[in-house]
Symmetry: C2
């Protein structure tokens, strides 16, 4: 099921410096979604992958609020910023990723955001392997999301992710068409420090 090769539309934009599984470069964050429905078993496989992410003391601080009915999608749209709504309104599924900041075992769970990021990474890769596109957004009103979705203060709010099948670039508003391509990364040597900072 997993990727066996780098997709042709990716090869133009991304070149791995070391031998890695193609799944890591094949995943990117397009903005154009079709209105094709995501079957429930496919959608839940995405969260199932996140479930198996590692976390400090296996606390599993991640939680996902899921919107896939018109009513729930409208609730989400009430706190997504207009710039993102121009494309995200087409996505058939939205999910808000949150994390519990405390735990009975440890009190304050310092790595809750870091661990939840790992779960998000797993989710994004499994989605890509199932042929789904995911696009995470920071552009939403977090306090409004907390209010609309009734999120307790003890949970941190991270990202809204649009999930669905990728659409055509030409279906996007013109100003977004030129951004509709996989993004590059800085060289690895600027990220790794040998021995000390």
């Amino acid at each position: 099921m997993s990727s066996t090769k780098v997709l042709p539309e990716i090869e133009k934009y991304r070149k791995a410096g070391y031998d890695i599984d193609p799944l890591f470069v094949n995943r990117w964050s397009p903005r154009s979604f079709t209105d094709k429905e995501v079957p429930e078993d496919v959608l839940f496989s995405v969260f199932e992958a996140a479930r198996w992410a590692p976390s400090s003391l296996n606390i599993q601080p991640w939680r996902f609020i899921l919107a896939r009915t018109n009513e729930d999608l409208e609730k989400f749209r009430s706190f997504i910023l207009p710039g993102n709504r121009t494309w995200a309104d087409k996505a058939p599924v939205l999910t808000l990723i949150i994390s519990k900041k405390t735990d009975d075992k440890v009190g304050e769970n310092a790595p809750h955001a870091f661990d939840t990021g790992a779960a998000w990474g797993f989710l994004a890769l499994q989605a890509s392997l199932k042929g789904l596109a995911t696009h995470p957004m920071g552009g939403f009103d977090k306090e409004k999301a907390r209010e609309v979705l009734n999120i307790p203060e003890d949970y941190a709010i991270h990202a809204v992710v649009a999930i669905g099948y990728q659409g055509e670039k030409t279906d996007l508003p013109e100003n977004l068409q030129e951004r509709e391509q996989p993004s590059p990364r800085r060289p690895l040597k600027e990220t790794i420090y040998e021995g000390s900072f």
Copy 2:
């Protein structure tokens, strides 16, 4: 290169509830490492995968401090807590994952920990696909790490990860042998909220 099936030693402990790529359950965090050296191209493929993680505005806040010489490993051992040193001292590679809390584009980069967690998730999966074990630790003295490794205040300190080839369970101290198995996860239905919290 990626996983084609769930490994027999995993099947005993983990069962996915939805159809996911086996790579997500095959990855776990053993404590027993052999002293077999990790070839440089294999080691760097692990960081290369992390490089392609998604991040807010493509800021890529993650950084990795790498220890693979005796001198550098000793520096790391100076801040790892004794309980972890009983097993982590055998790992041929240690890396400290940190993240830059600010960015020229945005000032304070709120999702730095979350985004760096995604990079850690990518790293852990690529390691597993290359036959490497990774074990992340929170059990170390962060302030001492900051001092020993000369880490600026503007960087958050997340986890030390032991990297190497998995050893035999019987090579561990007796009290750790019983914990040397893949951990379970809570049911997905306790993690997903439909529509609102």
